[in-house]
Amino acid sequence: MALLEIENVTRSFYGVNALNGVSLSVAGAGITGLIGPNGAGKTTLFNCISGVIPPDGGRIVFDGADIAGRRPDQITNAGLVRTFQIARGLQRMSVLDNLMLYGADQPGESIWHALVRTPVSVSREKELVDRALAIAARLNLMRVIRNPASDLSGGQKKLLEIGRALMAQPKMILLDEPVAGVNPTLAREIGEHLTSLARDGLPILLIEHHMDMISRLCDHVIVMAEGRHLAEGRFEEVADNAQVQQAYMGRRWKSAG
């Protein structure tokens, strides 16, 4: 069974059906691309999976448990962590603090442990610092580790989004347009980071509009249109699919064949 199984998920906003019963499954390895024209419901689906917006109906099974309608923090703690399309750095916090915030199981987040500085909370903090620095080193964020997140460049903010997700020790990450608005050189670099994460055993589900990124990175591509699953397969296969072309380009009235 796939790691993430989505069955017949629906969600509407004031009568507009953003998701019309979408069903798809994401394997527990490699990079899966989620593409589709604007308004296909990709980001809404991400919001439903991550609990930011509860779905109206359907089942979302992650790692054997139905997580549909749970709170975002419960879903993150179950091992499914998402990033945001527009990088949402915690502006007046340092890069390190941004990373540390995503650390799980920190007893120091309770008032008593914080006041007393219990040994468990201090040693957990050490582990989290280790992890945060390792992630920062891996993502080339060491130079800015003490800077406020507001000082980062657009590309660095995208890297920080990925880094924060990694801090939570995820079993799978959902990336919403990790290279949108990033210059081509950095986009390639981010792509390499993702490939290497996937190679290290972290499954990734990725929304992206840059087709060259998708073709380069993704082992498997799922196409959504009008709130439904439309097609899936290897990138070349879905790119050749007439329905997919139609969804992106529109219908041709006088087809020459």
Binding site: V52, T76, R88, L90, E109, A114, K126, R146, L166
Partner: protein, 311 residues
């Protein structure tokens, strides 16, 4: 004059306690609480009633005032959990006014607008007025110091980090795996406990409390303290509170020297000066005299050199 300075010192200390409490809710967690004076009143009345009518020892009264204000804080946090910004501000402002109006009209609780008089102070008779004030100044300074150390620990802890995260972007903190509602409630509980403590101390110091002491203007003075000192920063909260009391009191002496001004006009001019001071601070140093620093918190040294990461 010396008596006056000591009394002002106590006032400044009590303002500092309030500013420290407010800083947890507003400065750290970013939740606007305009009901500050309501929690201050809850602390003052609880301790006043218990010591005066039920003969509780003063320390027990102060502890009860702190605890009850904190319980009110939890209650208000729970009913406002889905509110932010202006809406939260209005509801909390409404809470404080509700408290004041209840205390004015429900005579059986604490004599309505006549207020409670004769609230006992520690060793008031034995010491005489001047020594009593000096002693109270020492008590307040110790209270500020203890609260400062405790809150400084909270600020620099993982708990403080989550609160700052909520201030910046609540949804990101949820996705980070934190139960945001619980943290907001805890921020209110801690902050309003400090407000209750300051109220209780105030009652035992002046020996008299009445509903009209708990008007919204006091809330604004504390907001002004935080804004001028540096929001989100415990040192700034204390410095700001002392500055505001100094400013409020020193203008008392300056105004009479302004020619052609009646006493009423002079009083109005003081309020105008306070408004001007706030505008100037926000214009020149929007983050306050001692701005909150980003990323200066001491973290434990990493135990190992950074190593390749396995997710």
């Amino acid at each position: 004059m010396e008596h006056y300075l000591v009394a002002m010192g106590v006032t400044a200390g009590i303002y500092a306690l309030m500013a420290l409490g407010m800083n947890v809710i507003w400065g750290m967690a970013g939740l606007i609480n305009l009901g500050l004076v309501g929690f201050f009143a809850v602390g003052a009345y609880t301790s006043g009633i218990l010591t005066l009518k039920f003969g509780w020892p003063i320390l027990a009264g102060i502890a009860a005032g702190t605890l009850v204000a904190s319980l009110f804080g939890v209650f208000v946090a729970l009913i406002t959990v889905r509110l932010r910004g202006d809406y939260l501000a209005i509801v909390t402002l409404g809470f404080a006014e509700t408290m004041r109006i209840i205390m004015s009209n429900e005579l059986w609780i604490a004599n309505g607008t006549d207020g409670l008089s004769g609230i006992p102070g520690p060793f008031r008779q034995a010491l005489g007025p001047h020594a009593f004030n000096l002693q109270f100044l020492a008590i307040v300074i110790v209270a500020v110091a203890i609260l400062f150390v405790l809150l400084q620990r909270l600020t620099r802890s993982p708990f403080g980090r989550v609160l700052r995260g909520i201030r910046e972007d609540e949804q990101v903190v949820q996705v980070a795996g934190k139960n945001v509602v619980m943290f907001k409630v805890k921020a209110f509980a801690v902050g309003t406990a400090a407000l209750g403590l300051s109220g209780a101390l105030y009652g035992h110091f002046t020996s008299y409390i009445a509903p009209d002491l708990f008007a919204p203007l006091l809330t604004l003075y504390i907001k002004l303290s935080l804004l001028s000192g540096g929001l989100g920063n415990n040192v700034g909260a204390v410095v700001g509170a002392v500055l505001v009391v100094f400013f409020l009191e020193s203008t008392r002496f300056v105004i009479p020297y302004v020619p052609e001004l009646s006493a009423v006009q002079g009083a109005a001019l003081r309020e105008i000066l306070i408004a001007v001071a706030l505008l100037l601070i926000l214009r020149i140093r929007a983050r306050g005299l001692i701005p909150e620093k980003v990323g200066d918190f001491p973290l434990p040294e990493p135990t190992r050199a950074s190593q390749p990461l396995k997710p």
